[in-house]
Amino acid sequence: MGVTPSTGPVSSAGSSIFPTLVFVQGNEQRTISLDHTPFTVGRKVDKDLVIADPRVSRDHAIITSENGQFSVQDQGSKHGTFVNGERIQRKTLERNDRLEFGVRDISYVIFNPQHATSNTAREFLSQISGIQISTDTTDLEKLTLFLEAARKLNTIGVLDEILVTLLDLTLKLTRAERGYVFMKTEEGGLRLAAGRNSKGEPLLDDKTISHSILEETLKSNSEFVITDTSRSLDLAGRQSIVAYDLRTVICMPLKKPQVQTTRDAATPLETGSEAMGVLYVDSRFASRDISSVSNDILRAIATEAASLIENARLVQAEEAARRYQQELSIAASIQQRLMAVTIPEVPFAQLRGRNLSCKEIGGDFFDAVNTAEGLAVVLADVSGKGVSAALLASTLQGMIYSQLAVGTPLVEIVTAVNAFFTHKHIGEKYATLIIARIRKDGELEYVNCGHVPPLLVCKTEVIRPPHGNLPVGLLAEATYSSDRVSLHTGDRLILVTDGVTEAENARGDFFEDHRLEAVAGKSSSMEDIFAALANFCGGTPLSDDCTVVELVYSG
């Protein structure tokens, strides 16, 4: 069994009902839920915690539990097992104990670290469920109060606490000995989410739970109640009931709450309610009290529990979506930093560039490199939008930058880039780009790959050279050529992305080439292009990134 960090829907670090192990290795750290024992540690790949280090023995140590106490036991390891720096053979574990297996310092395990938030949710829940409860309030009323409070508490990480408190109250109500909640896994199996005994101690899954009943309950989606197993003849085949003398077993499916509005009124509600887990309660003695609790009440508990779990899951899904958004904004900020260009200072030319981003992270970038071959500038626009475009843009930027830095001829660069992207079969994604390189003597070489033609501004005359190639990444068989122009002092080369020419105003008109050419010819400032663009668009937001790069040859 491998180790999975406790990021499942039900357990979360710090608030799990199971003790946690925080495994630290170098700069990495992960939290492991100690949801079964014995928990094995060693170098062998089948260990629960695999530590790939030659100083760790194959079968190094195990963690066991007895009566709610956890102990670590060395399995005859060569380099020893340490708890808080002391070499041990066997030792009962306390919170925050530091465990080391053979390796010292660089990797270690902290047993069940105390988190600032730990237990607070549950304490809070029991507080609110205890509020205004008069002495003659029945347990059922308490449960109702608790459930109402819990429902309002849609806080992340509270789910485990909810389950534990739910189990405690259910045990109190039914006077059963043990209670468990199992949740259905994606593979259709059952995973222990919480377990408690009537003394309020946490329980792990063990063989004495009748798994055949659990599975049957889940499968049949109907409850299973036996108040005196000794009288039931059909139980002979159920090993655990016979072996452990279980007299009382109650097992209820936790049915997924239905959204009634989407359902056909003629369809009975019950049939579609898929079981998402099981509430299981048992006792080793025939409970007389259990009969005093009607099945309806237990059914109500199961229904409430299911809706609580579903709510908490929705909150967790929301949280996951929020984290995903956060990741995206991190990606966007990384891209922005990659986009940030340190413009090389050269005596013969001035380079400026500016990017106006629309909201989404996009695929525009420009970059500049100065080498013995001259000052090179690249402006590219990757098709599409969003993360995929940004990813491609970053790869493209890296490839082009590194090749420009070593002075590779422009045609070779775009040929290599095209070969790379078409070879990788990245689907319909491609890029249009211009790479231009200007030498000290004013000789400008550029290669246009499907990009908006550059504007060559000589005094007030605006020239749009017709030279062009296919975009990169679209067709493997594409061939490329470059064009050369001699610039004179004061001549300008302006590169834009199609976000500029295709900027739209409220009437649905596009900025288009003629407006761009008019402002480029009239003004010698790049800022005027943006001013004209803003003036044209009015309040209409940009639908694509707009990037303008201007290269002025000063001789």
């Binding site: 098709s383 319909e428 249009t432 499907g450 990009h451 296919l470 679209l474």
Partner: protein, 117 residues
């Protein structure tokens, strides 16, 4: 979604007349799936763009991608009826050298006849 696609067949050639715009996202996805569907039975397709006012880089990438598939199966996707804006787009990207472009749907259909003869 700002794209409607009309499908008809003539002389063994499928014509997809597009109305609206073909942009990255919904529209490109729709046209791609319609084209792929058609290509399972007929490799000769004319995409008529007479009533398409906008084709962005995503739409263009999709057309090139699907055309490569058709070509590999011995067919082709020919374009017809491009307005000035769309012609400009194909000109800038030099994709005029890749696609067979015709003024009218009929000319595109006839061109298939000439090549398959």
């Amino acid at each position: 979604m700002h794209l409607k696609i009309e499908k008809r067949a003539t002389q063994g050639i499928t014509i997809l007349a597009c109305h609206g715009r073909i942009m990255f996202g919904d529209e490109a996805n729709l046209l791609r799936s319609v084209l792929r569907d058609v290509l399972t039975t007929n490799h000769k397709v004319v995409v008529d763009l007479a009533d398409v006012n906008h084709l962005d880089s995503g739409g263009l990438g999709m057309l090139v991608g699907v055309r490569s598939t058709a070509k590999a199966d011995g067919g082709d996707i020919k374009l017809s009826g491009l307005g000035q804006r769309l012609r400009d787009v194909l000109q800038i990207t030099k994709l005029v050298t890749v696609f067979d472009v015709y003024d009218t749907e009929q000319q595109a259909v006839e061109a298939f006849g000439a090549t398959s003869a």
